[in-house]
Symmetry: C2
Subunit: 158 residues, 2 copies
DNA sequence: GCGTTTTTTGCATAGTCATGCAATAATATA
DNA sequence: TATATTATTGCATGACTATGCAAAAAACGC
């Protein structure tokens, strides 16, 4: 399916070059460029492109392609989430268990999800301030810890 | 009215420290901090604070206080708006008149507003692809042009 | 090519956010 | 202090965005 890829490019370009403040408006601009889709599809496209909605500093908001800076900003955010919640860590052959401060398990799990570790196949946050991290086959807890330390220099085991 | 100012500070802090992805959630967090308002007020507060909604790079969006970088990003955006619409410029003692390409007067006026020139007391965009810029008392058209060139290096008169 | 699986999309609608208006609270003015 | 003015808020609702589900399109495997 080629259409979609092209449309995504077009969306990127349009958003960069125009002040688009609603999907409705984007719909029209896309129409002008020969793409015809529904608002639902646009919503998904924007999510896929990670397009944000920023204040124009005055009267309203407009869509914006995320810059590299913003990406990093974003990642720093997760690291902080993780560090803020982290209490201790332990693991066996296939699962890493992180204990967190009260109420932080969700944010820690989400942070790990968002940091996009290759070693991880999934996370789940339990009721009791605990996060389970399921590792890929062939990956050890040590591997993961190593990767974690790489991404989060401030991180100290225990 | 002191409440509001304090609430705005609290909102800033909460947004920085938490992953807030809806006004509903923010409402709750504010409640925890002792502030009780409605979603409508929050919507206005966020607009006032110029809070944006950015992709978390994975599963969704969260609110974010604009950083300096984003501000600049934003400014570049206005410059582009201005240049895209600009045709010619002229002035008398108190008013600068910018002619724009068809349909661009609104965006040019908005861009000038948003760039925040000290020399300007107001702008208005007319029907006929024209923007009026009212200058502060004591400021000449030349002063404004100079300032404009400073902000927009690419800008060439006529 | 044909059936199977995966991806993409529209439709309908739920979810979320913005705003006109009127009420209330704060502030300025006489 | 009484009155006028301005700022802030809630309510109700309209505007805008996201999403479950089923259908259609594309990609895959034989």
């Amino acid at each position: 399916m080629k259409e979609r890829t092209e449309r995504l490019k077009a969306i990127k370009a349009i958003i960069k070059e125009n002040r688009v403040d609603s999907q409705e408006k984007l719909l029209q601009l896309l129409e002008d460029h020969g793409y015809s889709v529904t608002q639902a599809t646009l919503s998904r496209d924007l999510k896929y492109l990670k397009v944000g909605k920023l204040s124009d500093g005055r009267s309203g908001y407009y869509y914006s392609i995320p810059s590299e800076e913003e990406r990093r900003e974003s990642e720093r955010h997760y690291i902080q989430d993780f560090l803020r919640g982290y209490v201790s860590i332990d693991w066996n052959q296939s699962v890493v268990v992180v204990r967190t401060f009260s109420g932080h398990s969700d944010s820690v799990a989400l942070a790990i999800d968002n940091m996009g570790f290759d070693e991880v196949i999934g996370t789940i946050s339990g009721r009791d301030n605990v996060v389970f991290i399921a590792l890929k086959k062939g990956v050890s807890g040590d591997d993961f810890i190593h990767s974690l330390k790489t991404k989060i220099p401030e991180f100290e085991e225990e």
